[in-house]
Symmetry: D2
Subunit: 346 residues, 4 copies
C-alpha cells in the first residue's frame, strides 16, 4: 500500500486527489495537509467526504511528511514546492508537484512569466515533465515529477501528432482555450462569484498567460525547433472542463485518412486519449469526472488550415488524475489504476 | 458474472445504469435495449462511453432478453414494464422496474394518478418495493422489484424515523421538494430547453403530482395508519440532485439529542444514508454522482415543528444506484458493490 | 428633476438602483457612494455602465450628501443607516433604507434577530414600511421609508389576501422560499463562488432566518393577531429571482373562483402584482429584470390546504425596484415611472 | 405611430422584438404572427408578457399583413421571407428580414451554404445589409433590409477598423466565436436540453458554418479584395451573449495608441459600440439585455499578431435590437429609440 501525503488537500485539485485516491486500490492517504484548516476535520471542509474520510487536516511540513509517506503531492500555488524541497526529502519520497515550479527548464523564463524567484533551480534539470503519454519511461524513473498544467495538457495533446510529424507549421499555431471555473481555485474572489461568472464568457490573460511558455517549450521538443504560439484562455460558466480549439496552417494538402492515421499512430494505444470518429467534435461533458482527453480535427481546404480540438476535465487529466497516473507509473502499478471510472453524463 | 439487460438504456436513468454497471465487478451488460436507437452504437448516443462500450442498441424484446440475461432493468415510461412482463419471464430472470408500474399496491390508485390501465395487476402483490433500507430482506427474495421513485426515496427517507417512532403527526407533513432537470428525462421538450430552465425555478404538479400516493403509501406503512400529505415538486436549474425540505408538527417537545438518536437508530448502520452533524444542512452537491442520501433536521421550538431535510442524486440513489443496490441484494452480493464512489465536488 | 444619492452604490442592489434610475425620467443620480471604491470610476466597478455613467465613487457622508440631493437610498448592511441618520438629515432629504434597520417596530426583536444594537430607535415609529401595495398612502407622506426585505416582499404578497380575509389559519403558514445568489451580495465569500453554488441547492438559516420576524409582523397586522410561521430560505443556482411556495390550512372549504376573487380584490388594480390564470404556476424567469410579482394559488381538497406561490426578481421588486416605487410615491410621481420595462426572457 | 407586424413572433428573436418594441415610443405591434400558435394568446406562449400583451397570435399571411402595418419583421427560418415577398408587399411596407435570405449578394453562394433554392433572387441586389454602423445611409433609403446574422455582427465589428485601414492581412483572420444557447432557437431538440448544454462547451459547424460567407463578404467590402477566413462557433452554457476572439497578423508593427486611434476613428461616435479601456477584455455579461457591442484588442509583439475581441447580446444587437435600430433609421427616428436600456448586471 502506497502511503500518500498531500500538501494543499483542501483546494479543488487537492480535493480531487482525495476523491480519486479513495478509489485507488494500492494507495492510502496518510496526510491531509492544509495550512488554512489545520486541525479541522477534512470532511467538514469537503462535506462530500463525510463518513468517508475521518482524518483532520495537518500542516504542510514536508520534512516531517517525508518520513511518513511514500509519495507527496503538492497541490499548492507556485513557489511553495520549490521552497520546501531538498535532497533529504527527495531521498525519502517521490514528489509530484502540481504547481508550475518544475515544469519549465529555463529558470529565467519561469521567473519572467511567474514573477517570482525560483527557490530550487538545482532540481529543474532532474524534474520530469509528467505528461505520461510523451515521457512515460522517464516518469517511471523519476524522483520529482512536474505535473503539467491544465491548459498545456489539453493544448499539447490536441496538436502534438501534427507537430511531431511535421504536418503543420508550428509557428502558425493559435490556441483558443476555454475553461471551467474550478481552474481558478477555491480562493474567495469577487471575479469567481456565481453572479459574476454565470451568464458570462470572457478572455483573460490575453497574449500573456503563464501557460504559454510551458506549451511552447513542449511543442519545441516535438518540433525540434523553438515555437512561438498565440494562446488565449477564456472563462466559461461551468465548474469543470477545458476545451481547446487550435488552428494551424498545413504544410501541404492532407486527406482526412492521412491525418487520422497520424493521430492514431500516437494515441491508438493510449488508454486516456480518445481520437473521436470523423466529424465528431469533442465536448467537455463527455469526459467529465474521467481521465480522458478527447481529441479530433477538421481539415479546412478553403483556408489550408487544420482545426484541432481537445476536451478534458481540468481537475482530472488536467491535474489530479494525471498526477495519479504519474504516481502509478513511478510505482510500477497499472497506469490506469484508480482512473477507470466512466465519465458522468449528464 | 451477472448478465444484465436494460430496457430503456438510452434515457438518463438507463445511461446512469450503464455508468454504474461498468464499475461493477460482478455484472456485465449484455443487452442495451433502446427502441429509438436500434442498431446504433450505444457510444454514439452517449459519447462519454466511446471506447468503453462497443455494443449496439437492441430492441426491447423482454421475452428474448430473458433467455440471455440474469436480470432485466426497465428504465422506461410508465406502463411498458407491466405490458411486457409475464410468468415465463419471471421464471427466467429477476426484474427490476424503474417505472412506477409496481410501486403502488392499489391498482385503482395507480390508474387514477397515472391515468392508464394497469396491464399486469396480478404481479402487484408479489412485487417488492425496493427501498433497501426498509425492505432489505424482502428484496433479497424477490423476483420482481419496484424501484422507488426519485422524490419518494428522498422524501420518505428524510421523514421515516420520525414517522416510524410516532414523534410527529403524519398528517401534518408537508414536503417541499426540489429537483434537477435530469428527472424529466431526455425527451425533446421546449420546457426542458436550456433557455427555459436556466435562471428559473418553478413549482409544478402542485397538489397533484404522481409521486404523492407512493409517498403516502409508504408513510402509511411506517405510521400504521393512512397518511395524507402535501407534496410540491420544483424544477431547479441544475442537472442532478433532489433536495427535500419537509415540515411536520411534533407530537411533543423534543430535544436535539433525542431526535438525533432516533435518526441514528434507523440509519447508523446504513451505508448510503448519512445523518449529518448538528446544524449542517444537506446540499445536493455533496452527494452528486454517489448513492448517498444525506439527511438532517432542525427543531423549531417557536412553531413546535420539525424541519427535516434530505439530499441525494436523483439519477443514483433516486434511480440507477438504488436499482443496482437492489440487484446486489437480490443476487447475494455486497450491497455496496459498484456503488462506493465518492461524491464529485465541485 | 429629483437629485438622488446612493450609499452602497457598488453592491448588487446599489447597482440595480443605478440601472433603474438611468431609465427614470424624473431622477438623476448625483452621488455614487461606495466606501470600498472611493475615487474609482463607477463604470470600472460595473463595466456594464461604461460610457453611461461617468461619475466616480464618493464616500458615504450622509450629512454632506443631504445637502446636495433630494433623496438618499441606503443599500448597505444592517446598522449603517441607523448609525448615520439624524434630524438634520431627515429635515433636508427623504430617506429610503434598503437595510432592515427600520422595518421592525419592536427594537428588541430587531436586536435579538440581528444581533446588533439599534442606533436610532427614535425613528422606528416614524419609519413607514414601504410595501407600496399595502401602505401606499403612508409612504406618500413619509420622510423615512423602510424598504421591505426581498423574502418578506414575496412571502407577504403571496399570502396577504388570504390572511387579510381570514380564509386561512395564519399560524399554519409554512413558507418555503428559494432565492438566487445575488441576494447574498457581492462580498467575496467561498460559499458564493460559482463552483460552490452551481449544481447545488440547499436550505440555510433554517428556523432562524432574520426575515422571519419581519414577515410575521406584517402578517400580524393583516391578521389582526400575532402570527408565528415557519420560514425556510434556500439558495438556488441562479443569479436573480425569488420563488415562494407557501402552505396553509383553509378555515373552510373554498372554491377556486372564491379565492380568485379574493386575490383580485387586493391586486386587480395593482400595476406590479399579476394574479396568474388558473393552474399557471409563477416562475422566476417570467419576471426577471422587472418589478412584477407573479402570484397564484392551488387549493388542495385532499389536505384542506391551499398552496400559495409568488415569484419576483429579488433585485427589482425585492430591493431596488420597490425602492424606486417608493420614491415615486414620496415625490408624487407616477408610481410606475422607471419601472415599466418588460421582463427579459430568456 | 409606426404599426408593426412580426412573422415568427414566438421564437426567441421574435420574443425579443416584442420586449424591445413595448418600450419603443413610436411603434406599436399590430400583428403577432406565429404559425405554430395561431389563435393562442401571445402571453400564454410568453408568460413574461402577461397583462402587457393582450393580443392573440395570427398566421403569417404577409400579403394581408402588408395592408395593416407599416413595417414587417420576419424572424423566421431561412427561406420563408424569400418565399413570401413580392412587389406588391414591398410597395406597401418596409421589410426587415432577420433570416439570411437577403444577406448574401451571390445567390449561388447562398444556395451552396444554405442548401436551399433562393425563391426571390430578384430582390437580393436591392436589399441593404443592415449593419447600421457601416451602411447607415443606405438603410435609411431601403425598402428591404437584410438584418445581419448574430455571429457576423459581432465578428465583423470586432475586426472592421483593422481591415478597413489595412493594418492586418485579412486572409490571416481566424475568428473563434462563442455563443449562448438562445441563438439555436426555441425548437425542441435534444441537443439544446438543459442537461446536454449545462456544464458543457463544444465547437460545432467547424470549417462549414453558414455565417462564414456572410462574414467574408462583408470583410471583402472593407478590404477591397476577396477574403477567406477561419470561423469556428462554440456553444456555451448561457442563455444570451456572443463573444468573439479574433486573431490576425499585423502587416507592420503597431503601437497601442495607433490601433486605439483606428478603432476610435470608426466607433467614437457610434452609440452602440463601446471601445473599452486599455487591457479591459469584453465580457458578455456587461452587455446583456442591451444593444451594445463592446470591443477591444491586444497587440502581441511576440507573435506579431493582434487579438481582437467583441461581446454583445445575440438577441439584441445580434438580432432584435439591430432590427429595431434599422427600423429607426428607415423611418427617420432617433437611431437609439427603444434601445437605450442599460445592460443588466448581474
Amino acid at each position: 500500500m502506497i502511503r500518500v501525503g498531500i500538501i494543499g488537500a483542501t483546494g479543488y485539485a487537492g480535493g480531487e486527489l482525495v476523491r480519486l485516491l479513495l478509489g485507488h486500490k494500492e494507495a492510502e492517504i496518510k496526510w491531509y495537509g492544509s495550512r488554512s484548516y489545520v486541525d479541522k476535520k477534512y470532511s467538514e471542509v469537503y462535506q462530500n467526504m463525510f463518513q468517508m474520510v475521518d482524518d483532520r487536516c495537518l500542516d504542510d511540513n514536508m520534512e516531517e511528511m517525508a518520513g511518513q509517506v511514500d509519495v507527496i503531492f503538492t497541490a499548492t500555488p507556485q513557489g511553495l514546492c520549490a521552497s520546501l524541497v531538498n535532497e533529504n526529502i527527495l531521498n525519502k519520497v517521490k514528489l509530484i508537484d502540481l504547481s508550475a515550479d518544475f515544469r519549465i527548464k529555463d529558470a529565467d523564463v519561469y521567473e519572467k512569466w511567474y514573477g517570482i524567484r525560483h527557490k530550487a533551480p538545482q532540481y529543474i534539470e532532474e524534474a520530469v515533465y509528467g505528461l505520461c503519454e510523451v515521457n512515460r519511461e522517464a516518469v517511471k524513473r523519476a524522483r520529482l515529477v512536474a505535473n503539467p498544467g491544465c491548459y498545456p495538457t489539453c493544448s499539447f495533446l490536441s496538436v502534438y501528432p501534427m507537430v511531431k510529424e511535421g504536418l503543420i507549421d508550428p509557428n502558425t499555431i493559435i490556441i483558443d482555450a476555454k475553461s471551467g471555473v474550478s481552474g481558478a481555485g477555491r480562493g474567495a474572489k469577487v471575479d469567481n462569484l456565481f453572479c459574476e461568472v454565470n451568464e458570462n464568457i470572457k478572455a483573460y490573460g490575453v497574449a500573456g498567460h503563464r501557460h504559454t511558455p510551458e506549451i511552447e517549450e513542449q511543442l519545441g521538443y516535438a518540433a525540434g525547433q523553438p515555437v512561438v504560439i498565440s494562446f488565449t484562455p477564456h472563462l466559461v460558466p461551468m465548474q469543470r472542463g477545458i476545451l481547446v480549439t487550435a488552428y494551424a496552417s498545413l504544410k501541404k494538402e492532407a486527406a482526412y485518412e492521412e491525418v487520422k492515421a497520424v493521430y492514431d499512430k500516437y494515441y491508438d494505444k493510449e488508454r486516456f486519449i480518445r481520437v473521436l470518429d470523423k466529424d465528431v467534435c469533442p465536448q467537455t461533458k463527455w469526459v467529465e469526472g474521467s481521465n480522458f482527453v478527447d481529441v479530433n480535427f477538421k481539415i479546412d481546404p478553403r483556408t489550408k488550415r487544420i482545426i484541432m480540438m481537445g476536451a478534458m476535465d481540468n481537475l482530472v487529466k488536467g491535474a489530479a488524475g494525471q498526477a495519479v497516473q504519474n504516481m502509478n507509473l513511478m510505482f510500477g502499478l497499472d497506469e490506469a489504476e484508480g482512473l477507470q471510472m466512466a465519465p458522468m453524463f449528464p
